[in-house]
Symmetry: C2
Subunit: 289 residues, 2 copies
């Protein structure tokens, strides 16, 4: 089975204000994820604030995570502004024992398809690890068309795609990527819509909530993947207050505060990102499932 | 007079494929800009691909530029993903003799106003140099509202704003920022609209074309700032084929190829950015004013 299936849980990356990874907290978060029954760890995703960490610190985070799990794969985000840097990050991740890679087409100047293709080809060729295309138009301003994903799927190690929830119909969206790239594992992020995505037959939930609530998210994943709609709806409903906050404020600032409230870290977001205000913090506290 | 007035010419930053600044080429470009009559150099802007350079290389670029001009200020882009990094870059620029700073609210996760405010406050306080707010929603996905710019203008060293061409009426846009922040110098980028922005009374043209064609851009700037509409229209018309290419393909890839065609550098864009294709290159060659 693909490592890009089931529940892929994305932890935050606790760091000091100076940007040093707090390895002990990373280890604790990753261990909880494994104990909670997730199928993989999605380290250094957007939730893991990868773009705010140096190469050395990203490598330390991977080492800490890999050392802390025994039975589930650690999948590592290796996005960077420069192609050579992303290749270096991929090799670092492989050296530290990552099982797979996540690559978003990070850009300052929005990228064109030929540029993204050459970038993915270079990074995918830098290691033998299976690579997941990380589509995140909100942060990269690059939109993956199904036909373009079909082209990327021909690159040897490209194995999966992580999609955002579509503006339109989810089943149509999923079918269009399945048709264009039948060999890829197809998963979704956008936690509030992932119950429906799993019920619709996608392969993976790339989950922010899974990074903090792995048991509840695993149960929801299993129910939905088994087609048990009633059970999935019930389990999803417990997350509803959290989904509301994610949709209104973005998940990143919310889960950072939640991790603090749960006593899992005292780390704060990297500046310029700021902690949420007292009022919102109270709402987060009461929304925890 | 503010250093953020007249023609601010933005050169590319020639670099090797590995990301080392080619100091000799930077020096040559900056000298041409001064000789061509520009009022300032806008180093390490988006055109100068600042986000693709390390701190050390950005510092080398500033040193090369400052050493190559005698009478015009070098204004330096210090945008970075992390606040502490942007502060370091500002201090480096000051140490190397920059006359002013440009700061864009670079983000991976789109930033909120309070975050941008704290970021600007920190970077503005890191040196005594006058700072220009760099509004570039296409690359940062952050839009500066006039009222928010009014707040930022209260920070001691904030002295100017570089605006994108508005979707709506230019005079209304200019008036709204004048009203909200009367002490700021207000300039525009988006070369194809800057003749009109100068005729409408803005203070500065932050110009991509000025980085390669400083004489023609200076003449256009002087005519438009003097209110000589006929002359300005005539001078602007010579740029029309270039403006068409900028609008259709973005200015960055076009001016990089133009600089090669003009024999000013053999450097290529940093990967993942790619050279334009042969067909477009031919059109660039025939569009040079």
């Amino acid at each position: 089975m693909s490592i890009f299936s089931g529940l892929s849980a994305f932890p935050i990356t606790p760091m000091t204000p100076a940007g040093e990874v707090i390895a002990r907290d990373v280890a604790g978060l990753v261990r909880r994820i494994e104990d909670g029954g997730a199928d993989s760890v999605g380290l250094l995703g957007s939730t893991g604030t990868y773009m705010f960490l140096t190469r050395a610190e990203r490598r330390r985070a991977v080492a800490a995570a890999v050392a802390s799990v025994t039975s589930i794969p650690v999948i590592v985000g290796v996005g960077a502004m420069r192609t050579d840097d992303a290749c270096d990050l991929a090799q670092d991740a492989a050296s530290e024992g990552a099982a797979g890679l996540l690559l978003a087409p990070v850009g300052y100047t929005p990228l064109k398809e030929d540029e993204v293709y050459a970038h993915f080809e270079a990074v995918a060729s830098a290691t033998n690890l299976p690579l997941c295309i990380y589509s995140n138009p909100d942060t990269t301003r690059f939109t993956f068309r199904p036909a373009f994903v079909g082209r990327l799927a021909e690159i040897q190690t490209v194995a999966a795609i992580k999609l955002p929830l579509p503006a339109g119909d989810l089943k149509t969206d999923l079918a269009s990527f399945r048709a264009a790239a039948p060999a890829l594992s197809v998963g979704y992020s956008g936690d509030w819509g992932c119950k429906d995505a799993l019920l619709a037959g996608c392969d993976c939930w790339f989950s922010v909530a899974g990074g903090l609530f792995p048991e509840a998210a695993s149960a929801l994943t299993r129910a939905a993947m088994a087609g048990n709609r009633d059970e999935a709806e019930k389990l999803d409903a417990a997350f509803a207050p959290l989904w509301d906050l994610f949709r209104a404020h973005g998940s990143l600032r919310i889960v950072h505060e939640a991790a603090r409230l749960m006593g899992l870290t005292t780390a704060e977001l990297p500046r310029p990102l700021l902690r949420i205000d007292d009022n919102l913090r109270t709402r987060v506290a009461s929304a925890l499932p």
